[in-house]
């Protein structure tokens, strides 16, 4: 433990850790690099794999980051994945980035944050609003093996991770003096640069905070105190520690963007964070959780018999996982293709994916039974996921953060003119995983809904469009007909939601009434259904596992589960749907394929 920030840091060019030795030529394509990382990390169950579950669980038990695996990822140059290509890194789009991170998250959620994604949470602020010097220094730092983390401001209903904040006042000779303390910040004990949201004005206004790039080699050691590691239930190996800044002089050029731009910057960059937490950590973690359950069934006395309750649970969770991934990938592709429209959808993605997957974790626990409590390498990872995933989603504070974006959107929905038109439908490119895309332009992220007055919600419109087109597929068989019926029920629910939003916006309550949160919840489930239908509709047989995605079974099961969660009357599914989907899951398990939309080969 250092007591000073400057103890082990140098200039951006001389980092704390050895610079990555770049492996030979890496593929330019995110999916191919994901395969590279997957193979690099190797078989999680091999006893002699230093990056397998045995080593990762042992490190977690010791509350340490897995040093060998962190070093491996450092040698691969994981941090380059967070640096835009024009600054020398490999970051093109966030869909590809999420793919590269999934092999890490499937093995260890805490590692994915600690050794990886946290750096982007911080750097994305610089990519969005930093000046040339800040962008170059940040790129050089990350490419050189340096470590960055983020100091959030205190939010409403903050938990330990979001509690506490810093305050800046102008220094007499120019620059600022920063004071404050946070107790639970990932990597605070070992980062050499921080992006900090610092209060620069009193009150609750939108310009109360500003973002600063705090580079430890530019701060005096006496003003910067690293606090001891905090003990957390989940992500035990992640370095959560505190940081105390005491009368800390900060140069004027540390300010990122304009004074008072902090809240706006958090609204913009959180879109990236939320989408990557959903499409990286949550989907990746859930993929592994489902795999533990399938393995437990395969090793049970009766073997992989899928008739009965356990088969239904596995099929249901598989459907949810594919549906959540549909939503997550839609959100990621939206960021890459049209970032100015991503504010509301990225919040909905995070809300829905974390709610659905946490519920499924309990279902899987019942399938695992006693194996779910084992600590050995075969099943110990399940209990670790039960501990880690709630931390990844940040619990209620994470939900409240998304609700603050989603509640105002209800007004837009209230004004929506849905009847008789399916205009403004989001384009098919959003719903086609892995299709050509464009690199995310951080500067185009918006802090305000792009067009609230026109009442446009392209994703909900896609649900209406898909439902109308499914009518034409009824002749293909009873499962397509059942899907068309369900889609029609969801389309009716879209209209009902708009009506309820209109009623609510007429209510005189000055404060946001609880009823608006009910509608937000329903809206997010509808968006998940929209993404699910659209991904199914656009899946070609040539897509990864297109045969499964282009067939109606998974969407049918996912929508029936969403419908029951919405309290809709959901008819019985046609015979064999769950059983066939469970068989598809077992097929992927036996062929060593991931359970997400990509169905990639596992090491």
């Amino acid at each position: 433990m250092h007591d000073s920030l400057t103890a082990d840091t140098g200039a951006p060019g001389s980092p704390a850790r050895p610079a990555p030795r770049h492996p030979g030529r890496l593929p330019a394509d995110g999916a191919a690099r994901a395969q590279y990382v997957e193979d690099l990390l190797g078989d999680p169950l091999a006893d002699d794999n230093p990056h397998g579950q045995r080593a990762l669980l042992a490190a977690d038990e010791r509350r340490e980051a897995p040093a060998a695996t962190e070093e491996l990822l450092n040698r691969y140059g994981l941090a380059a994945e967070f640096v835009p290509r024009e600054l020398g890194g490999r970051l093109d789009g966030v869909e590809g980035l999420a793919q590269v991170l999934r092999p890490v998250f499937r093995r260890d959620v805490a590692l994915g944050f600690g050794a990886g994604m946290t750096a982007l949470f911080a750097a994305s602020v610089v990519w969005s609003a930093g000046d040339g010097r800040q962008r170059r220094d940040t790129a050089r730092r990350l490419l050189g093996g340096g470590r960055m983390t983020i100091l959030h401001r205190e939010f409403a209903h903050a938990n330990a991770i979001l509690r506490g904040e810093y305050t800046a006042r102008p220094a007499p000779g120019g620059g600022y003096v920063v004071d404050g303390r946070k107790e639970v910040v990932i990597n605070a004990d070992r980062a050499d640069a921080f992006v900090a949201y610092v209060r620069t004005a009193p009150g609750d206004g939108p310009d109360s905070h500003s973002a600063f790039l705090l580079e430890t080699d530019r701060l005096p050691a006496h003003a910067v105190h690293r606090l001891p590691r905090a003990r957390t239930h989940g992500m035990r190996g992640a370095h959560y520690a505190g940081l105390d800044l005491e009368q800390c002089p900060v140069p004027a050029d540390a300010l990122i963007g304009e004074l008072g731009e902090g809240i706006s910057l958090s609204l913009r960059t959180f879109q990236v964070s939320r989408s990557l937490v959903s499409g990286g950590a949550l989907v990746g973690g859930m993929d592994s959780a489902l795999r533990y359950a399938v393995r437990a069934v395969s090793e049970s006395r009766r073997g992989l018999v899928l008739r009965g309750r356990r088969g239904r649970v596995l099929a249901g969770v598989f459907a949810d996982l594919l549906a959540c991934d549909s939503l997550a990938v839609t959100g990621l592709r939206l960021l890459d293709l049209a970032p100015e429209h991503a504010l509301v959808p990225s919040a909905a993605v995070k809300y829905a994916v974390s709610a659905l997957l946490h519920e499924d974790l309990d279902d899987l626990a019942a399938v695992l039974g006693a194996r779910g409590y084992e600590r050995g390498p075969a099943y110990g990872g399940f209990q670790k996921l039960v501990r880690d995933l709630p931390v990844a989603g940040l619990g209620h504070a994470g939900t409240a953060d998304t609700q603050a974006v989603l509640v105002p959107h209800l007004r837009t929905l209230a004004h929506a003119a849905w009847r008789g038109e399916s205009g403004h439908e989001a384009p098919a490119a959003l719903f086609t995983p892995g299709a050509p895309s464009s690199p995310l332009d951080f500067r185009r992220l918006a802090a305000e809904p792009s067009d609230p007055q026109r009442g446009c919600d392209g994703l909900l419109a896609a649900l209406l469009g898909a439902a109308a087109r499914l009518d034409g597929r009824r002749s293909r068989g009873p499962r397509w007909a059942a899907l068309a019926d369900l889609a029609r029920a969801f389309a009716a629910e879209v209209h009902s939601l708009a009506d309820r939003c209109a009623t609510l916006s007429g209510r005189p309550d000055a404060m946001a009434p609880a009823a608006s949160y009910v509608l937000v919840d329903r809206y997010c489930l509808l968006l998940a259904a929209a993404a699910c239908l659209a991904v199914c509709e656009n899946a070609g047989p040539s897509a990864a596992d297109g045969a499964l995605l282009a067939e109606p079974d998974w969407a049918l099961l996912a929508l029936s589960r969403f419908g029951r969660r919405l309290g809709l009357e959901v008819p019985e599914l046609p015979d064999g749907v769950a059983l066939d989907l469970a068989a598809g899951l077992v097929d992927r398990y036996r062929r060593g394929r991931s359970f997400d939309l990509y169905g990639m080969r596992l090491a």
């Binding site: 409403a156 905070h209 239930h233 309990d362 019942a366 931390v391 609700q403 105002p408 404060m511």
Partner: protein, 316 residues
């Protein structure tokens, strides 16, 4: 909070404070025995609070939620029956549950159902600082209830005989189970269904007079834990166990199963019912404030409202 009938000056809460109505921890053999188990991180589950009417004092429910992270309120459905019968807002209060209420023919079943929904809504409303009519009780696929859109608290509920109880936790999931304290199982008939081998051996080692009571508590704890997971009987009771001594989850072979994120407690209420609670602590150290009125960050809201727009737009 809107009282749904005139306030009775004899506040039922006063009875609880002198202990006659409040839950009493059950720990018949010394300090151990699956009674209240306080853990380093987990909440030490406070005794259930008797709320005989909607207009009783909810102070202790709120205090427990703030101080301990979780709280349990209980009543008999007959105590809440007058409210069910006299409130002019019953339809609004039942919301989506109205159809189920109206379709139920048996008047006793119907009234008990309505009373339990009112108890959930009033308890949640007290915890969240909103009107009970604004709460939408939704159900997970496994049947576990939750408050749609309001994940600052998790709820658990149970009823048996005339008793109904509602748990609210701001730390994590919560499950409750209640049984008549004099209910007796035939150990030989059910041991293979509910006990791990280690538990069965420990039960056998107890004096004969304590066995039945211990088994009953074990049963309620297993019910409470599986209900907290939203699984009910889908997670077989032989797949996990409890330490009959200091408490805490065990694997079937008796080794410690999880860390200290779960807290368990059993209390005797009304002199004749056991209420067991299983409370999960996700470890996020969440805010003590659970009120709905403060959950949206004001700065985010004002930042997203463009200058030309009515600021009320954020408050739809």
């Amino acid at each position: 909070m809107q009282p749904i009938e005139p306030t009775d000056p004899r506040n039922g809460d006063a009875r609880d404070r002198d202990g006659t109505g409040a839950g009493v921890p059950v720990a018949p053999h010394g300090a151990s025995g699956l009674g209240t188990v306080a853990t380093a991180h987990g909440c030490a589950v406070a005794p259930p609070v008797h709320i005989p009417r909607p207009d009783s004092s909810w102070l202790r429910v709120r205090e427990n939620l703030l101080d301990r992270g979780a709280t349990v309120a209980y009543a008999t459905w007959t105590e809440w029956l007058p409210s069910v019968l006299t409130t002019p807002r019953l339809r609004a209060l039942l919301g989506r549950d109205w159809d189920r209420y109206a379709d139920t023919q048996d008047p006793v079943v119907r009234c008990r159902f309505a009373a339990s929904r009112l108890l959930i809504k009033y308890t949640a409303a007290a915890a969240l600082g909103i009107d009970p009519g604004d709460i939408d009780i939704a159900y997970r696929l496994g049947g576990r209830p939750y408050l749609r859109g309001l994940d600052q608290v998790e709820v658990g509920l149970t009823h048996t005989g005339e008793l109904m109880a509602v748990g609210i936790s701001r730390l994590g999931r919560m499950g409750l189970d209640a049984e008549r304290a004099d209910r007796r199982f035939d150990l030989d008939l059910i041991r293979n269904r509910i006990c791990t081998p280690v538990e069965a051996a420990e039960l056998d080692a107890l004096p004969a007079g304590q066995r039945a009571a211990c088994l009953l508590r074990l049963w309620t704890l297993k019910e409470a834990y599986t209900k907290a997971l939203g699984q009910g009987m889908r997670l077989p009771f032989t797949e996990f166990g409890f330490d009959l001594g200091p408490g805490g989850l065990r694997t079937p072979d008796g080794t410690e199963a999880l860390g200290d994120e779960w807290a368990f407690a059993t209390h005797l209420v009304l002199g004749r019912y056991l209420i067991s609670a299983a409370c999960h602590d996700a470890g996020l150290d969440p805010a003590g404030d659970t009120s709905v009125g403060t959950m949206l960050d004001r700065r985010l809201l004002t930042a997203m409202t463009s200058p030309g727009q009515d600021t009320g737009g954020a408050d739809i």
